[in-house]
Amino acid sequence: MIAMTAMVGLGVALYASGRGRDRARGRADFWPLWLMTLGALNALFLSNDLFNVYVAFEILGLAAVGLTALARSLAAIRAAFDYLVAGLTGSLLLLLGVALAYAAAGRVDLDAVAELAQTAQGRVALRLILSGLAVKAALFPLHFWMPAAHSSAAPAASALLSALVVKAALYVALRMSLEGGVAVDPLRAALAVAGSGAMLWGAWNALRAERLKLLVAHSTVAQVGLIALALGVAGTGPLWQAAALLMLSHALAKAAMFLAVGRIAEELGHDRISGLNREELRPGAAEFAFAIAAISLVGLPPTAGFIGKWVLLEGLIEDGAWHWVGLVLAGTALSAAYLARVVARCLRGGPHVAPGARRPAWRAGDVAALGLATAALLLGLASALPFALLEVGIA
């Protein structure tokens, strides 16, 4: 219901991007997996029952692992195995929580969450479910599997994984937090603490990353942390809308970023950050898309990332929660720093570029990346729309 419409729109956008990339590679296996991923996501967003969520996660997890393994290199398969083990552990934790929820409340639909929060057993169940979700969303102490999986997959696959699959778990967490009411506050606090840890740790690793894809993957850890923090401090107040908006904008921007990185790597033949400013190649559309996505992730004014952060900060300042404000700002500064490493090298011009430099040709991948990045930008300009949708969702 809630973010559904927007997410489907995103899926369609990814469709175009995927098609562009895959015609180039000629991989038939991508399509069914892609379809299954989107199908599972839709099932997940629509379900109102914890066991449905478990089965949908299982489809999603397998499809995501299939996408990771598509790259076929040993590193990718190793990452896929670790991913599947982590994902299955997460699902089983979730299932354990569901079983306990059944024992404590006698039913397993999402409406039972409020009832669960009343009893100690129910809170244990919620804790188990949340830790399962945290594994799936790669939240800070449990993110170990994620950078490898996301950075060794093919670009179209990582775009799907990072933009959508990770969000699925966050979405369920959001639903539970909304259903749970005031009684789940300690859990929210834990979420916020883990989120801030993730933000700093992911940003630190992204600052040190040698390869572009790894940087983007670590940046996902950091951004997931930011969203979890927003979820954690939001409670049932209006702030949760900021978290939802951050989710959407991150989905768009991160998909754009991974696709752009894929295109850059295709043109350059590598994705080492230190080798980005080669002289014989002019910056192309992909670099431009990367820059826009970066702006949205950092949260500069016209983008949805900015609106999300702004609403979040405003709410936090009103509540006088200065330590959270500081953390969010620190995270923002760090993300600006690590993204600037890339953007500064991407958008060079003038004397650095040799006069006879080749201009990269336009490909469908560029269009997709640029389109998604623009969508992230437009989402910020027209942010009244998602807020209106979110209002409908709550009603």
């Binding site: 066991f51 089965v55 299982e58 997890g61 397998l62 692992v65 393994a69 040993l74 398969i77 190793r78 896929a80 195995f81 670790d82 599947l84 083990v85 299955l88 552990t89 089983l92 299932l95 354990l96 079983a99 306990l100 059944y102 024992a103």
Partner: protein, 91 residues
């Protein structure tokens, strides 16, 4: 001691064993085994919780049937991946 309590304890024991193995082993088959044992333990807990002297609740049983088939599918996928990386999943 009723049957429920006994199987509750044994289910919890299975879950504990599985988590311990999962945390300490890097071997493909051991990990897969641990995950399967974990699922069996959870199933045991769920069934023991569904146990009620008067009636037997069919809904958890249906969950478990679904869960068993899902698990065998995931196990097949895990093993196919594991065979490709050739045994040890530690670096």
């Amino acid at each position: 001691m009723t049957a429920e309590t006994i199987y509750l304890l044994s289910g919890a024991g299975l879950v504990g064993l599985a988590f311990w193995r999962l945390g300490t082993s890097g071997d493909v088959i051991r990990r897969v085994l641990a995950l399967n044992v974990l699922a069996v333990g959870i199933a045991m807990l769920l069934l023991a919780a569904a146990q009620d002297p008067a009636t037997v609740d069919p809904v958890p049983q249906a969950f478990l049937l679904t869960g068993i088939v899902v698990l065998v599918a995931v196990t097949a996928a895990l093993l196919a991946l594991g065979e490709r990386i050739g045994g040890d999943c530690d670096e």
